[in-house]
């Protein structure tokens, strides 16, 4: 093997890489926040007494978790136009990320709700709280705290899966890496550098997860102060 590596040719395009990293973080955050919202609704539906809601939520979860995200993405981007719905790459990408992540979050949030001791809602009801108040103020905060580690892993998985949306031309890190490759033909170096950036993002998220938990969950702050 007499190939000379040229990482410099890649690194001179650092503004593109920075832009890609910012966009990747943006896609991940949108996917995570909206996905969490869908997950909470989905989890409530999956535990609902209403058979219809339960069936819809179960169908959604099983459908998404048993098909590749690439198929979902291609259906949104390439197939919806034949039904008259034309989406830009950005819209299709966000839709696919949210649609996909929502199903995984549904299962995670449901596990969190199931982990709450039944005496908690019983106590809340005996204090005269409505179902909505019980859910919002008693069940959900504790459930989210219990599933926090799983949510961080899912967030990392989501962040890594945003690389797939490069296949429809959304402007995230992998896609912009491909653009650099088109400029200098250093494919191996480009994707090595892009891989290192993803790794740094993952490590950053893992290392700072305890810190983030302390910001999000007031009870942990209280414990830490004690």
């Amino acid at each position: 093997m007499n190939y000379v590596f040229h990482f410099k040719d890649v690194l001179v395009h650092w503004p593109i890489l920075v832009q890609g990293t910012i966009n990747t973080i943006g896609y991940s955050l949108v996917g995570m926040i909206v996905g969490l919202g869908m997950g909470i609704i989905g989890a409530v539906w999956r535990n609902s007494h209403n058979f219809g809601l339960r069936a819809i939520a179960t169908f959604y979860v099983e459908l998404v978790r048993n098909t590749p995200m690439l198929v979902q993405l291609f259906l949104f981007f390439f197939a919806l136009p034949s039904l008259g719905i034309r989406l830009t790459p950005l819209q299709a990408a966000v839709l696919a990320l949210v649609f996909n992540n929502g199903a995984y979050m549904t299962e995670i949030v449901r596990a969190g709700i199931d982990s709450i001791n039944p005496s908690q809602p019983e106590a809340a009801v005996s204090l005269g709280l409505t179902w909505g108040q019980t859910f919002r103020n008693v069940i959900l905060p504790q459930a989210l705290e219990n599933i926090y580690p799983a949510m961080i892993s899912q967030f990392i998985m989501l962040m890594l899966s945003t690389s797939l949306i490069s296949s429809i031309g959304a402007d995230e890190l992998t896609s912009l890496g491909g653009r650099i490759q088109a400029l200098n033909f250093r494919s191996f170096e480009v994707f090595t550098v892009v891989g290192v950036i993803y790794l740094c993002l993952t490590l950053l998220l893992q290392r700072s997860s305890a810190l983030i938990a302390r910001i999000i969950f007031p009870r942990r702050r209280a414990v830490a102060r004690r």
């Binding site: 093997m1 190939y3 291609f74 993803y198």
Partner: protein, 222 residues
Amino acid sequence: MMRDLVLNDFVLLTLATRWTILLSLIAFVGGGFVGAIVAYGRISRAAPVRAISAGYIQVIQGTPLLIQLFIWYFGLSLVGTNLPPLVAAGIAVTLNSSAFFAEIWRGCLEAIPRPQWEAAASLALTRFQQSRYVIVPQATRIALAPTVGFMVQIIKNTSLTALVGFVELMRQGQMITNVTFEPLPIYLYAGAVYFALCFPLSALSHKLERKFNAGRSTYRGA
């Protein structure tokens, strides 16, 4: 040039599923083999071995599979070998699943209480015999459900190899779409095939989980 979508296209898609299944099997067998070694590396008594295994898992789990595919695909061509796409795809999915298997199985091995190792050691079993006859049989019960569950992930992951040009179900779908311009039925069909492959495994995984969790709780209660 465009042509109409015909029944034969669906036959073609179904036949392309062979490659999806083959690649999944490669990833499962190869990844299982490498993963078992890495899992033992993670619980090794030698600190450097533990560190190397942990680093390997961190790098693979911390980067997207798509990037790993690109790196193998372009990297192998740098070495000057003109390998078929199956090799690059096979290496990438194998190493990717090995890291996940290693983490799953490490958890299962560590779930076995330490005294089991100690009791086996006190019976003069070597370290290999301890794990072969005492630890692994117990860990297998715990490992079965997550292992089957991860197979679903492997099958779904193989769809990414379409993006580096390996012709499996997804890529075949793309190619037929290019000539017929009928993405909706083709991708729906591809999705249905993936679902038909994955759903039974998911269901089996849930079933195993329920079965063995129940078994364990009575065992611990005794």
